[in-house]
Every structure is written in C-alpha cells, then in structure tokens.
Symmetry: C2
Subunit: 155 residues, 2 copies
C-alpha cells in the first residue's frame, strides 16, 4: 500500500484516536510517543525489580501504581502519535520506528489491542496483590512489547 494514501485508510480505531492530536506537530508527536514508552519502561523496571528479580523489596502500592500507569499509557491513544511525517527524524527528534510500520497499521492495531489486554491483566493482578499472576502478566506485556520492537523498531 502506498504510504501517501495511508491517511485515508487508517483503521477506525487509529483514526478516532488521531482526532485529538491534530494540533500536535510531527516533531512533538515523536517526542510524546518516546516519552510515553520511556515512562512505561521505567514502571516496568520497578515491577521487574520488585517481583521478577526481587532485587528491591516488594511494595504492593508501588507495583500497583506502576502497573496502573503502564495500562493507562497503553490505553491513552498513542496511535495518534504516529501521524503523517513521523516516520523519520523531524527536527531534533530522532525515531527508531521502521517506515514499514506505517504500511501495516492493521497489524499494529492488533498489537496495540494485545498491549491493552495484557497491561490490563497486569494492573488487575497488581491491584489484587497476586504476585504469581503479576509474573505471568508481566511476561505477556513484555512479549507484546518485544513483538512490536522486533517488527517495527530499528536495532
């Protein structure tokens, strides 16, 4: 599919999400999506340290708020931050996204839905203080992240 016609064929989900970002420049979109992923990654790190590696004492409140933050960001409409012109560096904002991501929004929407599902499970497990369930859900979230990175992020 030609990238120039992508704007007209975005999936309904991505299109509805993009409406609120019309005032956000391509440079800002890249900055914001990187911010969102960084913030999710920091919170994944907290859960990893406390529940997976157990290098930091488990604190249920911290793990629950971390999981809740990850789920919230995953559901915050990041698709709106992949608008036209954001497939390459803009101004000071570099991006590791592979341009072919913009030809595969249907597949990205499936990964995005899986991220929503798995982060929701992680938040639920953390809220109920179930460390075994947190471990399972954490692994599923990580696999979901990796599946997108493997396909659509440059090394």
């Amino acid at each position: 599919m030609n990238r120039s016609v992508i704007a007209g064929v975005l999936s309904a989900a991505l299109l509805s999400l993009s409406l609120s970002a019309q005032a956000v420049s391509p440079e800002e979109q890249i900055e914001l999506r990187k911010a969102g992923y960084s913030y999710m990654s920091w919170n994944m790190g907290k859960i990893k340290a406390q529940v997976i590696d157990q290098s930091v004492a488990y604190n249920q409140t911290q793990v629950a708020t971390a999981a809740n933050t990850i789920a919230a960001i995953a559901n915050s409409g990041m698709g709106a931050l992949y608008g036209p012109g954001t497939d390459k560096q803009v101004g000071a904002q570099t991006t590791r996204v592979k341009p072919e991501m913009f030809d595969n929004f249907d597949d990205v929407a499936k990964i995005s839905a899986r991220l929503s599902d798995t982060t929701g499970k992680l938040a639920a497990a953390a809220a109920s203080d179930d460390q075994a369930a947190i471990r399972v859900a954490f692994g599923e979230v990580g696999q979901t992240c990796k599946s997108c990175h493997d396909k659509y992020r440059q090394k």
Copy 2:
C-alpha cells in the same frame, strides 16, 4: 536547610517512592520526569480541546482515558525522579527545576498530594461523563500544576 543533608531528611513518602529508582541515574531521572510531565500535558491538552475550548468534538472515551492517564502518572511516584544530583543539568538532560525545590520537599509533598486529589476528581468526572464536573476538576488540576511551576520552575 543545607542541601547536602536532604538525603537524610526526605519525607517518608518521598523516601519510600525513591527506593524503586535506585538504579536510575540522575540523567535518566530528569529525562523520565520530563517525559511524565510532557505526557500529562498532552493529555491535558486533549481534555482542554474537547471540553474547555470545544475546538474538537467531545469523545467521552478519549477524555476518560486522557484523565485516567493523567491521574495514573500523577500517582506514579514521580518523587523518586528528584534524587540527589538532579537539581541541575546532567549530561544532555537540562532541567528547569529551581534548586530551592530540593529544600522544600515538605511543601512539594503537599502539592503532590493535591495533584493526586485533583487528578482523581478529574478521572472520576470523566469516567462518569459529567462535563460540568470535568471543567471544575480540570481547572483545579491546572491550578495545582501552576502552583508548583510558579514556585519551583524557572521561567
């Protein structure tokens, strides 16, 4: 209070939050707190456009997920991102924080608690599709942000 002894007198809340960030370098702490604020700001902008300015059509799901994201980040333990050595530029990471913030953690903890309270109200109003309540809560969140910026952020 001498800044060099701050580490020993952090409020209990900030101290407990900081435990999970021990592996995060000062440079990363600055990057991550800026990421968190940027991501909150983007989501505040969506609510502003749809409910305050009404320049974008109101979409309850978008507003509710935006408010939920703001509340989640506000409750995610950002205090851990103000560790020792983060009161000035580190490496590539600039910061607009005024150094005196690090002498006033008790006051910052009060503002942080107010941010948690007001963003919780915003999320609740958005979840219940109550635009009048969203407007009130949005204003309260904005005032809370501004109260911290006025005191502790450089122009």
